[in-house]
């Protein structure tokens, strides 16, 4: 029975509507300008202060089509497979997180089993651990499982670190789905599983989308785990390569670093651009209507 929002009179809309945008513009303009400058600067050989020096060139971007000519990347895997690796890593993490969180969150929200509160508190505690503190223990476990130096192992570890957040977020979303809807589905003839799939899951779709995006981004950005647990480099991800450029030799090639950095961040920027309204729903959440 949502009341329809009353449209504001036109003049009022024009003036009061602009104020938030003006405020936001003031705060975001520096960031936008810096990104713009970064992109602009990547097409010049050098930058002095804030001023690009030299003629326009695509030299810094040559890692895309001629990686063998780039000193820092000579002994690394080619950039495209690396990108695919990163993508696989981020996507698998995100999918496994979604799968486990949606089931665990539903159980924690709906079923009163013994140890439920303790479990919830424990998960929260786990979430507050930085992954660095668990590095050695994780290493031992991975080696025991023969998953050390493999993408699959890193995916599992990353998923484990993402799960506490995911489970809590999904539990919160399931909590907002009224019991009545599930009862109605049961009376209408659906079993527990079908009720979950046909009625409950569609209603937490905003949560699934937001959680999926966040864990994808987190996987894409992850540096520590691939760096530590995949030292041999064949299955490395972009963040590790970016660091390799920083470490190469005595002089850092900032032009190259800028170009690779932009290449690395572009998918995330695009993702946020297209999914921002969905992402916001993680805070709004719940069932409308």
């Amino acid at each position: 029975m949502a009341a329809l929002a009353r449209p504001l009179p036109r003049a009022e809309l024009r003036w009061t509507g602009a104020i938030p945008y003006a405020v936001l513009l003031v705060f975001t303009l520096p960031i936008l300008l810096l990104y713009g400058w970064l992109l602009y600067g990547s097409f010049f050989p050098r930058i002095e202060g804030l001023r690009p020096v030299g003629a326009f060139t695509l030299e810094n971007w040559r890692f895309l089509w001629a990686p063998e000519t780039v000193e820092a990347l000579r002994f690394k895997a080619p950039i495209i497979p690396l990108t695919i690796n990163t993508f696989v890593f981020a996507l698998s993490t995100s999918l496994v997180v979604l799968f486990v969180s949606s089931m665990a969150g539903y159980a924690l929200s709906r079923i009163r089993f013994p140890g439920r509160r303790t479990f919830l508190a424990g998960v929260l505690l786990l979430h507050s651990f930085p992954s660095v503190t668990l590095l050695i223990a994780t290493f031992l476990v991975l080696r025991q499982l023969r998953l050390y130096d493999q993408l699959l192992g890193v995916i599992l570890v990353k998923t484990a670190f993402e799960l506490p957040f995911g489970v809590w977020i999904m539990k919160g979303f399931f909590d907002t789905v009224p019991w009545d809807l599930e009862m109605a589905a049961l009376v209408d003839g659906a079993g527990r599983l079908r009720t979950w799939w046909r009625v409950v899951m569609p209603l937490v779709k905003p949560g699934l989308l937001a959680l999926g995006l966040l864990s994808f981004v987190s996987g894409w950005n992850e540096f520590l785990l691939p760096f530590v647990f995949m030292p041999s480099g064949t299955q490395q991800t972009l963040s590790v390569v970016l660091r390799a450029i920083l470490n190469e030799g005595r002089f850092v090639d900032y032009g190259l670093l800028t170009a690779v950095g932009l290449y690395y961040v572009a998918p995330i920027l695009l993702l946020f651009f297209f999914a921002q309204d969905r992402l916001m729903k993680i805070y709004a959440g719940g069932v409308k209507g």
Binding site: M1, M183, V187, R198, P202, G289
Partner: protein, 359 residues
Amino acid sequence: MRVRLESLTKRFGTVLAVDALDLEIASGEFVALLGPSGCGKTTTLLMVAGIYRPSAGAITFGERRVEHLMPKDRGIGMVFQSYALYPHMTVAENIDFPLDVRGGVSKEDRSRQVREAAELVRVDQLLERRPAQLSGGQQQRVALARALVKRPDILLLDEPLSNLDARLRHEMRGEIKRLQKEVGITAIFVTHDQLEALTMADRVALMRDGVLQAYATPTELYARPANRFVAEFIGTPPMNFLAANLGARNGSVVARAEGIELELAGARLPRADGPREATVGIRPEHLAIVAPAEGDAAGEVYVVEPMGREQVVEIQVGARRLRVIAPPGFSARVGERVGLRFARERLHLFDSASGERLA
């Protein structure tokens, strides 16, 4: 289909929500579960629906024991207080859901049945809308269509009218009653509103604290309440009660209260003669205001509440205040002395301790 509940009991931890409830509902009958909040009426309905598992007792539909069956295997349709329409589906999809889940029917057949159910409750113009785009009354109708579309044996309604505004409630009251008779379905509905129960149901089961207080037709509940709780709960404004001493005179019982003497025609004393405590009850509509000297009792007007068709007048008699229904033409100043006449054949007598009806 006939429904029988036998010693149906539900405990939540140490709380006894429903206590050994026995109830039989005839095929095609419309029964109201009535009672104040927390009386166990919704718990009872959810046990019939199969959402709650009874702690003890039996539920029989026709000749079939169902208390261990899942809701989907019971052949019921249900309308929830919140309507519980699936927000992500259109009206058509909502109504279709029970058919879709059951399977075994072709798509054309299903859409025909959806249309028929929608026409039955007159929402066939709204099939493409989403629940959020419907008014409360329309949502209610869609919920009814969804409950009826798979032609269940039994229809359950949980507080079906409580989310509607007063005018719509009146309209839907008649609508649901007509629909129930038209479809000829056995129906149970839960309400806390005695007016709803009396106007809609064939029989009313009145509950308190998990215990069945009375199970009778609306007329009988009103005319011969089984105990004091029933008498108090049914009827607006509520019945007046007077603590009385019972005596005998010329073979009939006489009740004395607040200086009033009332001869109860045809009543017998529950035990041997001698004074005895009891409670006399009389409904406001069975008291008449007369000249001060003429009635069975006299008192002062305490307050007058005009209600349009009638007026409720409170009259101070001794230490008690009695409510009386007076015709719209009646006018009196506060403090004015008036007489009261009791309709003898409309007196109720209850045991003071147990509250059971004596006469």
